[in-house]
Symmetry: none
């Protein structure tokens, strides 16, 4: 008796259901989550899927606690900062700067092998690629190379990519941009970077690569942003106690 003609696996359904209950307040912030036994009873399932679903929420810090004590709903009301990380436009506005962008190219073509790999798709699958120069108060600041999975990037062809936030635009079109994994390092400016940013080739640039995923964990975008380090950088604050809330997706054995 298992998965009779219901597409998403049980643990995904449970995860979405639990997430829904938290966001709608059926499970209020600060309250205790029902025990695993109770959830098994309610959904007529075994502990496996229930725990898998709870582990996913735990990885997102939507619930905290455990071992002996029932986990507690932990809803951090502030949803602001992610946008400022995902969206150049919002970030700029928040700083009182005038954001600008010049689209160099927008294209639909087969994914490069590396990009396909990051997106978890086949290399021949078409992606929507965007190459843009980003400006702050008219000053060239960052080169953005973005690659969207077709389903997510399709709406962009009906959008003036020089007009504003693609992130917001896609969100409003129902694209489920939910989480992102950022990798930060340094790289030498190539010929394109140098020309667009008006700097010598080989200059050090601050590179941020990210894979943006849906709430189900499916990769939707792979992007590589290269910043002039004199104009932008990244800041982190951490303490001994509050070991960064989100640095690691997965603390000891929590995911499934």
């Amino acid at each position: 008796m298992y998965n009779q003609a219901m597409n998403p696996p049980l643990h995904e359904q449970l995860r979405e259901e639990f997430r829904h209950r938290i966001s709608t307040g059926v499970w209020p912030d600060g309250s205790q989550v029902p025990s695993e036994a109770a959830l098994c009873e309610e959904f007529k399932t075994s502990r496996g899927p229930v725990r898998q679903a709870l582990a996913a929420l735990r990885a997102e810090q939507l619930i905290v606690g455990g071992r002996g004590r029932a986990p507690v709903v932990h809803r951090d009301a502030l949803s602001q900062p992610v946008e400022t990380f995902l969206s150049f436009t919002e970030w700029a506005v928040g700083l009182g700067k005038e954001p600008g962008q010049r689209t160099i190219e927008i294209a639909k073509r087969a994914a490069a092998p590396f990009v396909a790999d990051q997106l978890g798709r086949a290399p021949e699958e078409p992606v929507v690629s965007l190459l843009r120069l980003r400006l702050l108060d008219g000053e060239p600041t960052m080169v953005e190379r973005s690659h969207f999975v077709l389903e997510a990037g399709q709406p962009l062809f009906g959008f003036d990519t020089d007009s504003g936030s693609t992130f917001r635009f896609l969100m409003e079109h129902g694209i489920d941009l939910y989480s992102a994994r950022h990798t930060i390092d340094a790289v030498a400016a190539d010929a394109t970077d140098a020309e667009l940013l008006g700097i010598p080739e080989g200059s050090p640039l601050l590179r941020e690569r990210r894979v943006t995923s849906s709430s189900k964990g499916e990769p939707l975008e792979y992007a590589e942003d290269r910043y002039r380090p004199e104009l932008a950088n990244f800041v982190i604050h951490n303490t001994l106690k509050q070991r960064a809330s989100l640095a690691r997706v997965l603390t000891p054995g929590e995911t499934a």
Copy 2:
């Protein structure tokens, strides 16, 4: 018959073992991970712990792929989760790498104006300055320029700075290192960096500057670490709902 007097749970032991095999090349980059059945056989365990360990590595993108096809090792660079920021040594150990350090210089002298400014002290005040080359498995990886206020740095003169974690050493001597503010950007290698790291001058390096403070908020250390970007980078994961501890900021006019 389970876990009699062995502290870390099985799946954590497996996770570390697998991570170690990847970082040491026993499982080379791009190669296929042994099948779950083979791993169960090797470690005389059931699929549960094995899958849990693999899931952890998957969440860190150390392995990719699945369903039908054996997962593949995917290592582009060693990633440093922001939470391990405070100690290079612990980070290295966690990766299964052998940390090393070569102290180039330790000195007590008047603080340079910029350093004094960061520490909130007067420029003529003496500070303990440390210049070290950091290694991973013997490979030059990072150049660390650290400056402690006198009260915090004094114990270092009674410490073999080539022997291990200065962070841990200072903590054990009652120095109240509590929180840190990290700024990340890119910079070109200067002559010293180039010589120590064995790279051409002008190569892009990933720079992390930090001010470490006591629990009372008094700055105790200002440090500047420069990483070879092929060997180390920083990773952040965030979601819509979560508050990000990482922020992108505009570089103040201090640079050039």
